[in-house]
């Protein structure tokens, strides 16, 4: 790795998509992602922005996932975005315009919490439950925020970076075993 930090993929592959007219003012955008246009709302702007995008023809919430940037508070973000540990990434798809946009919201560090998209896209229900289960991100207004992949009594959120990777201890022939 060179002194200037890791190489960054060149962005600008995506068409520049203007903010929809009804979007909340001051949402930061970026066309420097490796694919698709990116919007970076604050948690307060998040729901209003997604609502504006939905009205603008983004009919399908293709994907919603969490990312834990514990080791990368210095990641590339447009100027003015305060990086937090957790990010919620929403990929929206417009069938009529045949474009995708990505909404990345900084969900917080200690107790990540954003609004739920359930009212706009009922299909985000399972995806938000997954993000809650694996990252511990809370979604306000979600009707049924329970674990979905892990058992109900599980402790911790496995996809967090400070959650250790499980391993099976290797048993060698000569090692003193339990027997």
């Amino acid at each position: 790795m060179d002194a200037g930090g890791p190489r960054r993929s060149k962005g600008g592959n995506a068409e520049v998509i203007p903010l929809p007219p009804s979007a909340p003012p001051g949402v930061l955008t970026s066309d420097a992602l490796a694919s698709d246009a990116g919007f970076f709302p604050t948690p307060d702007q998040y729901l209003a922005l997604v609502r504006a995008l939905k009205d603008d023809g983004f009919e399908l919430c293709a994907d919603l996932c969490g990312v834990d940037y514990l080791e990368h508070f210095d990641r590339a973000l447009p100027e003015g975005v305060t990086p937090t540990r957790f990010e919620v990434v929403v990929n929206l798809l417009s069938l009529s315009k045949r474009v995708r946009v990505r909404v990345r919201v900084q969900a917080g560090t200690k107790e990540p919490r954003v609004d739920s998209l359930f009212d706009l896209y009922p299909g985000s229900e399972a995806m938000e439950r997954e993000a809650f289960d694996l990252f511990g991100i809370l979604f306000d207004g979600h009707p049924d925020l329970t674990r979905i992949l892990m058992p109900e009594e599980w402790e911790g959120h496995p996809l967090r970076k400070d959650y250790a990777v499980g391993r099976v201890p290797v048993q060698f022939k000569e090692a003193p075993g339990p027997r």
Binding site: M1, G5, P6, R7, R8, S9, K10, G11, N13, L33, A34, S35, D36, E59, L60, C61, A62, D63, C65, V67, D68, E71, H72, R75, A76, V89, N91, L93, L95, R98, R100, R102, F118, D119, Y121, P122, G123, S124, E125, A126, M127, E130, L134, P143, D144, T146, R147, I148, L149, M150, P151, E152, E153, P158, L159, V165, G166
Partner: protein, 450 residues
């Protein structure tokens, strides 16, 4: 605490303790508050663009009229380990809730400790019926970040394999769907024809199921000698036999009665729930990523996007049957248009050197060693790549921090999202219809749970 383990029908609350998934499961009506009950109804209605009138919530229905039963996770019609909790009024389904996670193996977490070279072996196991689609989505995401050029021949080989895989996946669907409806002959025929394709996969990639054939930069091996003849035989056989299945199933009155008009889905509901693939197309929305947002060279081949009208079980069946024929068409064109050249990128940073070079060249030896110990570094960035898998939009969201392992690997599994349509489709139907719903939604639990 020991008396907790006594299974006794006289103490139903103990049985509940033993089998309950807690809040993940479907709660009994008398334990459910009005708002909770309404929320669940409302969620279904909202998909229709309607709102719930709170007075419509039937909380008065007492529990001795309804019954909550578990279907699965080991029920033969649940295609693996899907567990459904159904609230029944006699024969009819009032509420349904899928409980998933029984096959959760933490593949997204595993993806973070495997290098990009090893990653293919991980993702290929997610949707175990269409491994090529998984590898393709993953490889395309890595290639987008690397900005590596994939040779023309590799692209066409990928298309050929992806379409063969789509055929084999749909054949298994036809087989298991037939099985669920009692058409056991279809089960045997579907698996028989799939074997032709698996044999070709074995000849090409060395493996039948989890191929790890599509890799970042190209494919693992060139097509074997005489592959054209094999592929043409596969195409001829399957195309011809697809008409036999048509006759066997479409002409079957019992099959039609169980499929036609059962569990309809509207386009608005499908879009609201994020449903993609044959389920979305069955509602009449002509959305196929191969056509609408072309990747590989799908814009250079001729094929039709099959759409349905009613969004019922029968449309979903008809779409899959006809997609087999369309895929045969694409495969034939791949055979015709297959260019000559490299089957993988010649960039030594991404592609390991050929075995023969390692003995002669120091540089090749170093590249080989570096690639298989630490892998290649991928420029930092975030990318989402989506392809049309046999079940819908298969997306891969990849975050790289500039190292040799993905910082975050998220797979947007079509089955996981499509499964949300199950409670809506089952509502009001009978239990036997519920089985056809699971079957035609076609969830692959490996992909749902990852």
């Amino acid at each position: 605490m020991s008396d907790l383990h006594v299974r006794s029908a006289a103490r139903p609350e103990l049985l509940t303790v033993e089998t309950s998934e807690g809040a993940q499961g479907l709660q009994r009506r008398d334990l459910t508050t009005k708002s909770e009950l309404g929320r669940e109804l409302g969620a279904v209605l909202r998909a229709n663009g309607l709102t719930l009138d709170p007075n419509d919530v039937d909380v008065e229905r007492s529990d001795d009229e309804t019954m909550i039963i578990n279907m699965g996770p080991a029920h033969p019609s649940t295609h693996g380990v899907l567990r459904l909790m159904l609230e029944l009024d006699g024969e009819f389904v009032l509420r349904a809730k899928p409980v998933i996670g029984y096959l959760h193996t933490g593949m997204e977490k595993t993806g973070e400790v495997l290098s990009y070279v090893q990653g293919g072996t991980n993702v290929t196991r997610m949707d175990y019926l269409s491994p090529v689609a998984n590898e393709l989505s993953y490889s395309m995401a890595v290639e987008k970040l690397l900005a590596v050029e994939v040779p023309e021949r590799a692209i066409w080989i990928r298309m050929l394999m992806a379409e063969l895989n789509r055929i084999s996946s749909h054949l298994v669907w036809m087989a298991t769907n037939g099985m669920d409806l009692g058409a056991t002959s279809m089960m045997i025929y579907g698996f028989r024809e799939r074997e032709l394709i698996l044999a070709f996969f074995e000849k090409t990639a060395g493996l039948r199921l989890n191929l790890n054939y599509v890799r970042p930069g190209g494919v693992a091996a060139d097509l074997p000698d005489g592959w054209e003849d094999d592929v043409v035989v596969i195409c001829d056989t399957i195309y011809e036999r697809s008409f036999e299945y048509d006759e066997l199933l479409t002409g079957q009155p019992i099959f039609r009665q169980r499929m036609e008009g059962v569990a309809p889905l509207s386009a608005e509901e499908a879009l609201a729930l994020g449903v993609t693939g044959p389920l979305l197309r069955s509602t009449g929305v002509p959305w196929d990523l191969r056509r609408t947002m072309p990747y590989l060279r799908y814009d250079e081949v001729d094929f039709d996007v099959i759409v349905g009208t009613y969004g019922d079980n029968f449309d979903r069946y008809a779409i899959r049957l006809n997609e087999i024929r369309e895929s045969v068409r694409i495969v034939r064109q791949c055979v015709e248009k297959m260019p000559r050249g490299d089957y993988r990128s010649q960039d030594p940073k991404v592609t390991p050197p050929p075995r023969a070079r390692i003995g002669e060249s120091m540089e090749a030896l170093i590249h080989h060693f570096k690639l298989f110990t630490e892998g290649f570094a991928v420029p930092a960035g975030e990318v989402y790549s989506a392809i049309e898998s046999p079940r819908g939009e298969l997306g891969c969201y990849l975050v790289s921090d500039g190292g040799a392992k993905p910082y975050r690997l998220h797979v947007r599994a079509p089955s996981f999202v499509n499964l949300q349509a199950v409670p809506l489709l089952m509502r009001g139907g009978s239990v036997s219809d519920a089985i056809t719903v699971i079957s035609t939604v076609d969830p692959i639990m490996g992909e749902v749970d990852r």
